[in-house]
Assembly symmetry: C2
Homo-oligomer: 786 residues x 2
Amino acid sequence: MLANHFQNGIETARLVWSRIPNSEESQLLDDAVASLKKSDGGGVESLDYEVVENFAYREEQAQRGKLYVSYLLVVKWFFALLIGICTGLAAVFINIAVENFAGWKFSVTFDIIQKSYVAGFVVYVLINLVLVYSSVYIITQFAPAAAGSGIPEIKGYLNGVDIHGILLFRTLIGKIFGSIGSVGGGLALGKEGPLVHTGACIASLLGQVTCGCAAGVAAAFRAPVGGVLFALEEVTSWWRSQLMWRVFFTSAVVAVVVRAAMGWCKSGKCGHFGSGGFIIWDISDGQEDYSFAELLPMAIIGVIGGLLGALFNQLTLYITTWRRNYLHKKGNRVKIIEACLLSFLTSAISFGLPLLRKCTPCPDSDLASGIECPRPPGMYGNYVNIDAIVILSIFQFFCSKDKEYNDLATIFFNTQDDAIRNLFSAKTINEYSSQSLLTFLVMFYALAVITFGTAVPAGQFVPGIMIGSTYGRLVGMFVVKYYRKLNIEEGTYALLGAASFLGGSMRMTVSLCVIMVEISNNLKFLPLIMLVLLISKAVGDAFNEGIYEEQAQLRGIPLLESKPKYEMRNMTAKEACGSGRVISFPRVVKVSDVVSILRSNKHNGFPVIDHTRSGEPLVIGLVLRSHLLVILQSKVDFQHTPLPSDPRGAGRSIRHDSGEFAKPVSSKGICIDDIHLSSDDLEMYIDLAPFLNPSPYIVPEDMSLTKVYNLFRQLGLRHLFVVPRPSRVLGLITRKDLLIEDKENVNTLELQSTSVRIRHQNKRLTRNIDVERPLLNGLLQNQTPD
Amino acid sequence: MLANHFQNGIETARLVWSRIPNSEESQLLDDAVASLKKSDGGGVESLDYEVVENFAYREEQAQRGKLYVSYLLVVKWFFALLIGICTGLAAVFINIAVENFAGWKFSVTFDIIQKSYVAGFVVYVLINLVLVYSSVYIITQFAPAAAGSGIPEIKGYLNGVDIHGILLFRTLIGKIFGSIGSVGGGLALGKEGPLVHTGACIASLLGQVTCGCAAGVAAAFRAPVGGVLFALEEVTSWWRSQLMWRVFFTSAVVAVVVRAAMGWCKSGKCGHFGSGGFIIWDISDGQEDYSFAELLPMAIIGVIGGLLGALFNQLTLYITTWRRNYLHKKGNRVKIIEACLLSFLTSAISFGLPLLRKCTPCPDSDLASGIECPRPPGMYGNYVNIDAIVILSIFQFFCSKDKEYNDLATIFFNTQDDAIRNLFSAKTINEYSSQSLLTFLVMFYALAVITFGTAVPAGQFVPGIMIGSTYGRLVGMFVVKYYRKLNIEEGTYALLGAASFLGGSMRMTVSLCVIMVEISNNLKFLPLIMLVLLISKAVGDAFNEGIYEEQAQLRGIPLLESKPKYEMRNMTAKEACGSGRVISFPRVVKVSDVVSILRSNKHNGFPVIDHTRSGEPLVIGLVLRSHLLVILQSKVDFQHTPLPSDPRGAGRSIRHDSGEFAKPVSSKGICIDDIHLSSDDLEMYIDLAPFLNPSPYIVPEDMSLTKVYNLFRQLGLRHLFVVPRPSRVLGLITRKDLLIEDKENVNTLELQSTSVRIRHQNKRLTRNIDVERPLLNGLLQNQTPD
C-alpha cells in the first residue's frame, strides 16, 4: 500500500520532469531546461516550478493546477525525506558491515596467531584478499562506474556533464557492496567518497542529486552542516536558496536516522559494530587553550599539508594516467590481479611492520595525568563481541610481556577509524615514538598513492586524515619537546594535520572546516583549523589543482572553473566559437537532410532559422540533437509537404507521449546509426517548430569571453547563440521592472486569486493559440519595420 | 610610515576600482562593471581581475603588469586582513564599552538602592536616559543612516541598490557610538545587527563589503563560520568561490583578534568587562542525550517560533510604517522624545516588574545535583569590579532575606547577555517560575516590537534570542513536569526556542544553525536545531516574508528574491519593459539634447545607436546617466562638429582623470540640476563612443520573464537590453568551447609566459587601435551583409 503510493509518487515526479522538453508552453521552455534537464540536478530543481506550471496549465484546470502544485511540493519534500532516510540507512549498513568484517577478521587472526604467527599472517592475508577480490569482482563485472570515489563524476554531473552509468541502480549496488569489500579488506582507502556517490545514486532515483550529495557527506561524517556546505562549495556550480533549504532538510534527516541507528546499535544488536557516538572522533576533551607561540608550528603544519597534498595530487595524477593508458586497457583480469596484489602488499606491510618495532612499556597507570596504555579498539566500543582477554592483549600480542604495547600496531594493525581515534587521542603524550610515526607516514602515504585509481570504490578522506594526523602528531611531539608546556596536546596537532592535508589535497575551505569541527566535536579550534586550511590551500594552489579537478580533467569531464581563464579577457564570443560554419536547420526540413546533418557532425544543438514574410531570415530557436533523434525514431511527426504543419492540428501532444523526449537517466540515449529509415521516410519533411526552445540565451559577437563565461556558468547553460549586434533596442529591463509586485496595484494584489488569475488565464490562452499556430507566426507578422 | 603605506594601498585600490568605468579597454568593460561598480561589493570583487588587467595594460608594460597583478592580489588580501582586524577591534571596543556602562550603571544603582528604592529608580532611569539620549542624538544629528540594524540596507547594497549614506565614515562612527548608547541604555535591542553594519562600513573603506559583513557576524557572535554563511545565505545575491575564500580568511582573522582581545581582558584590564570566553553562551555541559519522545515538544517550539516570529515581523512592519508615515516626518525632535520615552518605559518595566514578584527561596546548595541559587552576572566574569558583597546580593536585593532570589530580576534587571546566559543555563531546573517567564515574555516582546524602528542603532538578534529562549524554557518546564525525566535540561529547550524564534523571524537556515551552534558550543543538538529551524521557517513563511525582506520592502529597497514571481512565467521580456518608448542616444549627440533627455526622465542607462555605412541602425552600447553627468560637468569632451571625434586623438584618458567617473561611495552623485552650461556649451556635441559599455547583456523580446529574471539576478545586472530576435547565428558556444586550455596546444600552454603573452599583446594592440579609432568603426565596416 505504502509501496504503491511511493511508486506512484516516483512515477508522477518522473512524468513531470520528463515533460520538460516537450511541453506546449514553448514560451516557458527555457534553454536552461534543455541544457540542464539531463544532467544538472540543481537545474532540474530550479525549474520544477515551471514544469509544474506547464503541467498544470496543460490540464486546463487552474484550480486543480493549484492543488497539483501543492501536491508536487509535498512529493518533492517527501522525496527529500526519503533520500535522507535511505542514505542514512545505507551509511549505517556500510558501517556495520565494514566493522563486522574487520572485527571478525582481527579476532580470527588473533585467535590463530596465539598459536602461530605464520598461520595468523596467512589467514589475515587471505581474509583481506577475499574481501578485496569480492569488491574488485563486483566492480569489474557488474558496475564499472562504481570504481573510485565518484566525487569527480558527481561534480561533473552537477556541472552539466553526463558520464555514462554513474547514477544507475547497479552502480549504487556496486558502490555499496564494493566499498564494504575494499574498506573491510584493509586497503588504504576510505568509505566516505563512495558514500557521497551512494547518496547521489539514491537521490537520482528520485531526481534530486544535489540533496543526495549532501546526504552522503552528512552520513559519512555524521556532519549535517558539513554536508550542506560540501554540496554547496565543492559539488555544484549552481545554487539557489530554495535548494539550500531542502538540502539542509535532507541532511538533518540523515543526522536523525544515523543517530537513531547508532542508538539502536548501542544495545549490542549490530555485532562487532559497537556504540559509536554521533561524533566520530571526539576530541572535545583536548587542549583547552593555545598560546600565540603555537601559531608557528601550526602554520608549519599548514605548509606541510599543502606540500604533501599537492604532491599527493601530482603522484596520483601520474599513476592514474599510467593506469588508464597502459594497465587498465588490458582488461578486467589485470584490474583484478592488480587489486589482489595491492591487498597482499597492504596486508603484509600492516602485519609485518609492527613486528619489526620493539615494544614500548606502558606508562604507569596514572589516573591524575590520564596517561595509560593505548586502549585497543574494543574499549572505544567498536568490537564489543571480541573476548575481553583478546581485547586487552591485542596490541600487546606482538610484545612478549604484559604492560608493553606496540605503538605501530595501534595505527597499522587496526581499522582506520580506530587508528585515527588513537592518533587524535588526548592525554597521551609520548604514546608514539617519532620513528613509528615516520615509518607509518611514509608507508601509508605510498600505499595511499598506489591504491588510488584501483578498480574498487575508494575515498580519499580517511586516508588523508590518517596521513595528516600522523605528521600533525609528529609536529605536535616536537612542540611538546621544545615548548615544554603541559597544556599542549599532540591530538590537537593531529587534528590540525588532518585538516591541513585534506585542505592541501582537496582545496576546500568552509565545508572542510565545518566537517573537521563536526567530526571532532571541538569548536575551540575553529580559528586554528581555518588558518591551517587557508595556508595549506594556498600552498597547494601554488603547485596544482585540487584532486577532484585533476581527476575530472583526466577523465575528460569538462568542469568549468569558477574563474574564467586569464586568456578569455582578450577574446570575444565570436572567437570562442571557432571558425567553423554554423550548421542550422530551416523550420521545415527534409528528413534526409536531418539524417545527413546529424551524421556529418557531433553537435548537440542546432539553431533553427525561418524567414519573415518580407524574406528576412530570423532565428526562431534551438533544437537539440536528442530531440531530433526521438522525432526520427518515432516517425509520427513526418509530413508530406514542406509547409508548416497545420496550426490547428491535433499537435504533437497526442502523437508523442510526454516521457518520450526525456533522456533516460545516465544512459547513452539513441544514436543516429540505430535509426533505420526507409527511402520513403527520407523524402518526407518535419516541422521543427513544436520541438524547439524558442528563446535560448544570446550574446553579441564582440562580447568579452569573460562575460560569456560568467553567463554560461552562472546559469548552467549548455548552448549559447552568438549573434550579430542588434539593430534596435526594444526596451531596457532594470531592477525595478522585475519587482512585479510593486508595479501592480495593491488592490490587484489582494484580488490576485481572482482578477489576476483571470488575466493570466487570458494571457495563457492567447499564448497557447500562438503556440498551437505555427510557432512564431505572430512574431513574423509583427516583424515589419515600425 | 606604515600609515603612509596603508594610505597608498587604499589610494591604489581606489584608483584601480575607479578606473573601471572609463578604462580604454572598452571591450573588457562589462555591463557588469557598470552595473555592479557602484553598489555591489561582490561584484566589484568579481571584476577586479579585469580591472587589474585594464590598468596593467594601460601601462603598456606587460611585465610590470604581471608584477602589478601580484601586487594588487597582495593588497587585496592585506585589506581582507585589515578588515578582519578592524572589525574585530570595533566589536571588542563596543563590547567593552557596553559592559562597562552597564556594569557601572548596575553597581551605582545598587549602591543607592541600599538606602532608597525611589532614589535608585531615579538614578537608574536617568543613567539609561542619558545613554539612550546620547545614542539618539548622535543618530539624528550626525549619522541618520546609522539608525536600525542596517542589515536590510547592506543586503540592498550587495543586491545592487545604493542607499544614500549607509557606508559613509560618519555612519560607521555613528553606528559604533550609537549602539554603545542604545545597548548600554538597556533598550530591548541588540548590538549584533549594528556590528554587521559596522563591519560593512569598515570594509567599504577598503572596497570589500561582503568580507565586512561576514566579519561583522563573526565578531558579533564570535562565530567565524556562521559569519561566512551569513554573508553567503542572507546577504549577497551573488557569490563565487574566490570570494568565499577571502571572506573565510577575514572571518578567521576576526576570530583570532577577538580571542586575543578577550585573553587580554582576562587579566582584568577592561574594567567591568570580564573574562568572557570565545563562546558566548556555553551550554556544552547541557543535556547529554534526547529521546524521541522529546521531538514532539521540540516541534511545538518550532511552531511557536514560526508563529511568534511571523507575528513579530507583521507587528514591526505596521509600527514601522506608522512611524515612517506619521511620527518621523515631524522631525528629529520627535525622534529624540520617542527614544527617551521608550527608555523611560523600558527602565520602569525592568526595575518595577521584579518588585511585584515575590521572592523564591534558593534551593539547598546541593553540589551533587549542581542546583544552586542563580548566580549574579559577576560570577560569570562580566562585572569583575563590582564589590563582592554587591555581586552576591544583586538578585536578592529585591528580597527581604538572604537565601532568596528574585527570578524575574535575573532576566529583567540584568544585561541581555547575562539574562540569556541565565536562561540557557543547565542544571537549574525550576530556577524560574512559569509566571515570571510568561510575564517577561509578554513584556519583553511588546518592548521589542515598539522599540524596533526607533532612531537608534538596533539589532534584532539578541532580543530574538531573549524572546525565544523564554518560551523555549517554558516549554522545557512543561516537558520536565510531564515527562518526568531527569536528563532533560530546560536550558537546552531555551536554546531551541531561541533558534526557533530567529528562524521564524529572519528565515535563515544554514547560517543561523551554525551561529547557534557556535555561540552555544554544543554540537550534539545540531540535528535538533536544524529541525526546529526548518519547522519555524516553514510556519513563518506561511504568513509573511522574513524581517529583512519586509523592512527592505518598506524602505523601498528593491531586493530581487531568489525565486522569480509566479506571474513571470506568463510574461515576456518585452512586457516587462512597459510600453514607454526607449530613449536612446545617437553616437554623437548635441549637448542640449543630452540635457533635455536627462531632465525628461530618471533613467539610469540609455542605449546608444549608430548607423552602419549602409544606413542600418546598430546598437553600439549602453551609456550611464552618471557618466553623462560627469561628461557634462567637466565639459572637456565637448566638440564643435557633429562628427565622431578624431580617432587618433589624444583621447579621453588625458582629458579625464581616471577617478572621475567613479561615483563616490554611497553619495548621491551629481544631479543634472547642479550642472550649469552656457548657451554656447549647449550648441556643442559629445562623441559618446569612448564612454559606453559596448556589450551589455541582451535578451530577445519574447524570452520568458522567468529566464530574464534568472539572468538578471544570477549576474547581478542593472540594465538589460531587450532586442528583436536575431536574424543570424554567428556561432554556438558550448561547454567545450570554454575549456580554452584543452583546445590549445600543450606547448603553447607551457610557453604561456612567452608566446601566448606575445599573441595577447598583439591582440591587445589591435584592439586598442580599434578603441582609439572611433569605436566600432571596425565593426561597422564588417557589417556589410556576407
